[in-house]
């Protein structure tokens, strides 16, 4: 595997993305960045990590917020704590980490942020609905119905975040290099497949 290679993993909620990332990390001995990314962004901007955690998604309030940032002709300065500005800083952190060495990124549109970099593999992981529910029930200790709701909400959130920033379609085959179904292969074999793809 070439140095500075990055794997960007997009995933449905409950598709086992985190497990695959962990297995890949063990087999290739490269670090996974999920929440760690926020720590990094926090370090580089001087803003506290909570700020980044709160603004982990794009909400309707974002739009509402723009309206006080300026007058009718939009003369306003963009708020420092706006989702868009935080996304920008988070992207800078992704680029810095990628420039330092191989890394695995979970979500956060890393595939888009690093689209111009060589040696980046973008993967999207799906799973059958029953497996997704089962996984959430096991890992979060919630009921099946709650898991179902979680999945619906989570998918919608991830899709709107991804689609807004990347101008691509979340979960569509054309947006990624590889799409895999973890129900079909199991997380172990999916990790193996990805390792093999890296050559």
């Amino acid at each position: 595997m070439k140095t500075k290679s990055c794997i960007c993993i997009g995933r449905e909620l409950g598709a086992g993305g985190r497990e695959v990332a962990r297995l890949l990390s063990e087999r290739l001995s490269i670090p996974v960045y999920d929440k760690e990314l926020l720590t990094r962004a926090s370090l580089e901007t001087g803003l506290s990590q909570e700020v980044f955690e709160q603004k982990d998604e794009r909400s309707f309030l974002t739009t509402l917020r723009t309206l006080f940032s300026g007058n009718i002709v939009g003369e306003g300065a963009v708020s420092v704590l706006s989702e868009d500005q935080l996304f920008q800083w988070q992207s800078e952190a992704i680029r810095t980490i990628a420039s330092e060495g191989p890394a695995i990124f979970l979500g956060r549109c890393a595939d888009y942020v690093l689209r111009d970099q060589p040696n980046v593999l973008s993967v999207f992981l799906t799973a059958n609905p029953t497996d997704r529910v089962a996984r959430l029930v096991a890992s979060l200790g919630i009921t099946e119905k709650e898991a179902q709701e979680c999945i619906e909400k989570g998918d919608r959130k991830r899709a709107s975040y991804y689609n807004f920033y990347t101008f691509k379609k979340w979960g569509a085959a054309t947006s990624y290099d590889v799409c895999l179904n973890t129900s079909l292969f199991g997380v172990e074999r999916v990790a193996d497949l990805i390792v093999n793809l890296l050559g």
């Binding site: 901007t45 001087g46 803003l47 506290s48 700020v51 709160q54 603004k55 309030l61 974002t62 739009t63 509402l64 917020r65 723009t66 309206l67 006080f68 940032s69 300026g70 007058n71 009718i72 002709v73 939009g74 003369e75 306003g76 300065a77 963009v78 708020s79 420092v80 704590l81 868009d84 500005q85 996304f87 920008q88 800083w89 992207s91 800078e92 888009y112 942020v113 111009d116 807004f164 920033y165 101008f167």
Partner: protein, 447 residues
């Protein structure tokens, strides 16, 4: 402000930062207010008192046009800064092209629909036989140039987002200056009346637009016009408009309120009361815009330091901004309370209108120092990311307390009651804002 965070936000002296961020914002905000003021002055002095009433009748329609402008403009410029941050120049150029196309579509649809129904609209807004001709003459020209106005505002905010805030400001100031030169030329020199003012407005925007377009034609700029990028892109349109929807609704509300206000003014005070409001509105807005510019300067400083948990600095910038805001608004308050006739006389020499407007001005400006506090607090919440509170506060002053006051007070105090609605709503909403702030600061201390 894409890319790296300015490190100075957390280190530099707060007072110095505030001056550095607030001054350009104040200039930009005051420019548009001056523009309106100059128009009113030349129309009042050159055409007559009923022309001022006619002009005031058009405020809601102008607001509505501006609202449709923000529907595309605000969203597209947000989208552009996000795209530039990711160096996605390809899509960024499509945003530029789409702003032109979308503004053409929305601008022309708005103009056609309002031109067809112009008379009923103006009568609904409170026009009379005496004032409708002025309002009509003015609006026909303005609406005919509506596409230009929309594209001008849209491209101007894109110019700012594209990393040229200074050039965007030059374009803004250019329109103000051109308008100030063309207004007297057309009104006094050529005797075109109120239409002269409208033609000056459209022509000034036309020239400024040409200057902006030339900048975007420059192919060495990262973001420039390109063939094939003007095709309507549904995705860009949808994203821009979903961002722009909130500012659109906010402008829509303020337009609705002005209609209601004008109707009450007409009912209790007649045509000249509407004209008086036209004058009062211009004066009040000048001070309000200076205050808005100041709070814009506060936003990045308060926001960053809150995010960095430097609460001492957050409080310092809030304290300083409140101080300046009260100072600015007190200047407005004192000059209008002590010399109302002199202030009003800038706009007209008609004794009846002066008397009307002087009374209105004194009442309306009565709570102005409080308005400064109210505006700062609602922007403070906004810059800290508490959009809900900011929206509530902003709506409370412009709608929640104003509307009931407008229904109730004129029934008791008649025309004075109409004027009183504004300071009453200002005072109540300021008290609410202060309570919210004190409660927030308490929990602040606990952290």
């Amino acid at each position: 402000m894409s890319g790296k965070i300015p490190a100075e936000l957390g280190t530099q002296k707060v007072g110095k930062l505030l001056r550095q961020y607030a001054v350009p914002a104040i200039i930009a905000m005051t420019a548009s207010s001056l523009y309106n003021m100059i128009d009113s002055i030349f129309i009042g002095q050159g055409v007559g008192p009923y022309a001022i009433s006619g002009l005031a009748l058009t405020f809601p329609l102008m607001n509505l046009a501006a609202a449709f402008g923000t529907l595309v403009g605000v969203g597209a410029s947000t989208l552009l800064s996000v795209l530039l941050g990711q160096k996605n120049y390809e899509v960024a150029r499509r945003v530029l092209g789409n702003v032109v196309i979308l503004n053409m579509i929305i601008g022309s649809l708005f103009a056609i629909l309002t031109l067809i129904f112009l008379n009923p609209i103006l009568y609904f807004f409170g026009a009379s036989e005496q004032t409708i001709e002025y309002a009509r003459d003015y609006m026909v020209v303005i609406l005919s140039g509506n596409i230009i106005t929309h594209i001008y505002f849209g491209l101007n905010s894109l110019l700012r987002s594209a990393g040229h805030p200074k050039q965007a400001m030059v374009a803004t100031i250019l329109t103000v200056l051109l308008n100030a030169i063309l207004d007297p030329l057309f009104i006094f020199g050529l005797g075109w009346g109120i239409q002269g003012a409208a033609i000056a407005t459209v022509l000034a925007q036309c020239i400024s637009l040409a200057w902006i377009v030339r900048r975007f034609m420059n192919r060495s700029e990262l973001i420039h016009f390109e063939k094939g990028k003007f095709r309507l892109d549904w995705q860009i349109a949808k994203k821009s408009m979903s961002i722009g929807l909130a500012p659109f609704l906010m402008n829509f509300v303020s337009c609705f309120i002005v209609i209601f206000l004008n109707q009450s003014l007409k009912e209790y005070g007649g045509d000249l009361a509407i004209g008086a409001y036209g004058i009062v509105n211009r004066v009040a807005f000048l001070f309000l815009m200076v205050c808005m510019g100041l709070t814009q300067g506060m936003q990045p400083i308060a926001g960053y330091n809150y995010g960095a948990k430097r609460y001492d600095r957050v409080k310092e910038v809030l304290r300083k901004t409140l101080g300046y805001a009260v100072m600015i608004m007190s200047i407005g308050f004192l000059s209008c309370e002590l010399f109302p006739r002199q202030v009003v006389s800038i706009f007209t020499s008609d004794q009846e209108l002066i008397a009307n407007a002087a009374v209105g001005l004194r009442v309306v400006m009565f709570a102005f120092p409080l308005v400064g506090i109210q505006v700062v607090i609602s922007n403070f919440f906004q810059s800290l990311g508490y959009a809900g509170r900011a929206i509530f506060l902003s709506l409370s002053r412009q709608l929640l307390f104003l509307l009931p006051a407008l229904i109730l007070l004129p029934r008791i105090f008649e025309i004075r009651g109409v004027w009183m609605c504004l300071p009453v709503s200002d005072s109540i909403s300021s008290i609410v804002a202060i309570i919210l702030l004190l409660r927030f600061l308490k929990h602040f201390k606990a952290e």
